[in-house]
Amino acid sequence: MNDEMIQSFVRIVGKENIKYSKAQLLAYSYDATANFQSKPDLVISPKNTEEIVEIVKLCSKEHIPIISRGSGTNLAAGTVPTQGGVVLLFNRMNEMIELDEENLTITVQPGMITLDLSTYVEANGLFYPPDPSSMKISTIGGNVSENSGGLRGLKYGVTKDYVRALTVVLPNGSVLKTGGKLAKDVAGYDLTSLLVGSEGTLGIITEITLKLIPLPVYKKTGIAYFNSLEDAARTVSSIIANKIIPVTLEFMDRGTIGAVEDFMNIGLPRDAEAMLLMEQDGDVELVQKDIQKMIEIAVAEGATSTSIAASPEEADVLKTGRRVALSALARKRPTTILEDATVPRSEIAKMVRAIQEIAIKHDVQISTFGHAGDGNLHPTCLTDVRNKEEMIRVEHALAEIFEVAIQLGGTITGEHGVGEMKAPYLEWKLGESGINLMKQIKQSIDPLNIMNPGKIFAKETKTRLVIHNG
């Protein structure tokens, strides 16, 4: 980018809020996605919506791509500036704006760290349930833009279920305010929903109002181990069929259990085929009853051993075990590719089984963990990007996993988003008419394609695989 152009941005935000040294451009060339990297031309930290309007107007005039970036923890290459351009940071827009205890909402700037928000509202006796494993570092802006889920999704839903209102700078520089502190609002199309999960491709979110709920008074965590995937999967179905909706119903397969145990040394049995972590929250009595019942169901379905955490600390250890699953697996091989194929709850055992078979077929290492309660699995491929031949096998294996997920009535991504990484597979899920409608929406809002170009929409769709199961 030439000096003159840089100066124009400096005039908007001041030179201390612009980064373009060689080291800085490199440091914003990646996110948590393996095998994607590309440098931006400039990195800008605006202070408020007004500055962003100016930036967008300038970028629109000059056709410069804008890549909004929270903490860069997304797993779909959503913040990699593959077409150059300016990276927008929200490190100066990370304040809480208002906690409204009457309407039970909180309004924040997008750069606020998820955990900070969660801690803050809990200190006020309120609760913001979405808790992606990355919450310690992810931003709310990133969560909203990816519609992130978390361990509590089964009972409490995901980010979109909490977004009440947004302030967004559109590609033409106009400021849109959607929604409000309202429990009900049917005035027009639901633009808030359109923007949630839009991955920075439709506009820049500058203010977010979230719904809060009262903080549950009590919670309890239990755990069960199984000798077969099917037993674990049946337990999940049976729990739900018994009309219990736990906060958390998490699953880890054998490979993941071993990796976590290597890392944390908390006494997980390495020979178990599957583990289910269950948590319930609410009134003391109900929680006790539910957790007891869930354990009984697990035993009835063939759990080899079960236990209930005696103290919150013990529960934390178990939950941490699940939270670090991905990273613990990452220790095994140089490169970790995390997928999040999602299927209807009833199909979990089939899906996990299929993943294991696909891994063997392509001779790649895949371990699976995930949110069993909502069918959101994380098949995690452990590999080495430097090995070109292996990477081809990995790609085939992942494509097959997507295909099987779709055949089982599922999707290619449950919570991580499409980004650039999964863009070539999106049409498999949406079909031609789905993609076309989305393209029309994108075209009408961002005709110059300056908002995070190359994300969600692929130049080319991968050819669909033909898989014969069984």
Binding site: A23, L26, A27, A32, T33, T335
Partner: protein, 383 residues
Amino acid sequence: MVSELQQRMQDSFREHVDEEYIMDCMRCGFCLPACPTYLATNQDETHSPRGRIALMKAMRDGDVVWDGSVADAFDMCLGCRACEPACPAGVQYGALIEETRVAIQHAKPQGMKEKVMRKTAFDGLFADQNKMATTIKLVQFYQKSGLQTVTRKIGFLNLFPPFMKEMEGVLPAIEKKKERVSSLKPKTTKVAFFTGCLMDTLFQETNRKTIKLLEWLGAEVIIPREQQCCGALHGHSGELEKGLRNAKINVDAFDSNEFDYIVNNAGGCGAFLSEYEKHLQENSKYAEKANQFSQKLIDISSLFIKLGMNARLKEMRSEDVAIVTYQDSCHLRNVNKIFLEPRSLLMDAPGFEYKELIDAGSCCGSAGIYNLLQPEMARRILI
């Protein structure tokens, strides 16, 4: 065209920085909130562990051109290794930054070497506008960047003798040893000073100031000549025998009725020194002497207090210009149970408002007395 320096740097990174270690990083970002330089630069990814590892890789792969900004990113790293426990993927960051420094030092034009090692992170941090918040953090880093790091460094270096040489090559020139400091006025308290091997080399400035402060408080300071490294490093790496050899030498070196206290100013050493008695109790020749040694042993904060420092500090009134906090040295707090002493000194020190740090004891930032000895530094940060 690739410049000659660029080529040299790239080759050097390839030679010295372990690719497998780099590949361990999955760029998840979990280390970011743990990194003091990332926080103090208002979340500049360049000054984060993830950013630095990416830069190491880019240097190896030739994806970034070596210039001042790249050098800065590495220089700014405090080597505190707070990123390591935060990293679920087990990235050995400490080893990586060591290797990086070796790589740079090898490829850098002569004369620049010393600068690389000595340049402090603060140069870059001053730029931050949010000075008050930064000050708290900075004082904390300063401690973190102190002894603990070096101890680890040395532990690491012990495993790789050639590295050790490299590192030593760039250590600041050692001032001529001051063997005995006597004062003209008659002194009431006589203090034998335990210099510590690292404190004596890397932190000579700290030792000098410690002695100055003791003298200012009216003590006479003696530095027994025969003393050795305390032996903790050996002791902690499973070579207790060797550690005890040092213990005996030290017990002999300090075996004198001449002084009232044996003082040390490094938490890690202090903990081991205080255990001489325990380790030597079975030894008929040394049990008694070691007992004497331990009786006289005192940490620097406690001694300052005994010498009336609080009152002297209170006399020196000045407006609060900075907020300081204190992060415990794990050994000092956990082994020697020194908690209130350093805090009380900081509270009484003029020009500072003391604020307790949340989790001050959770991560071991060593060299706890550092901020007290470096008031100029603390002040400079504010300017």
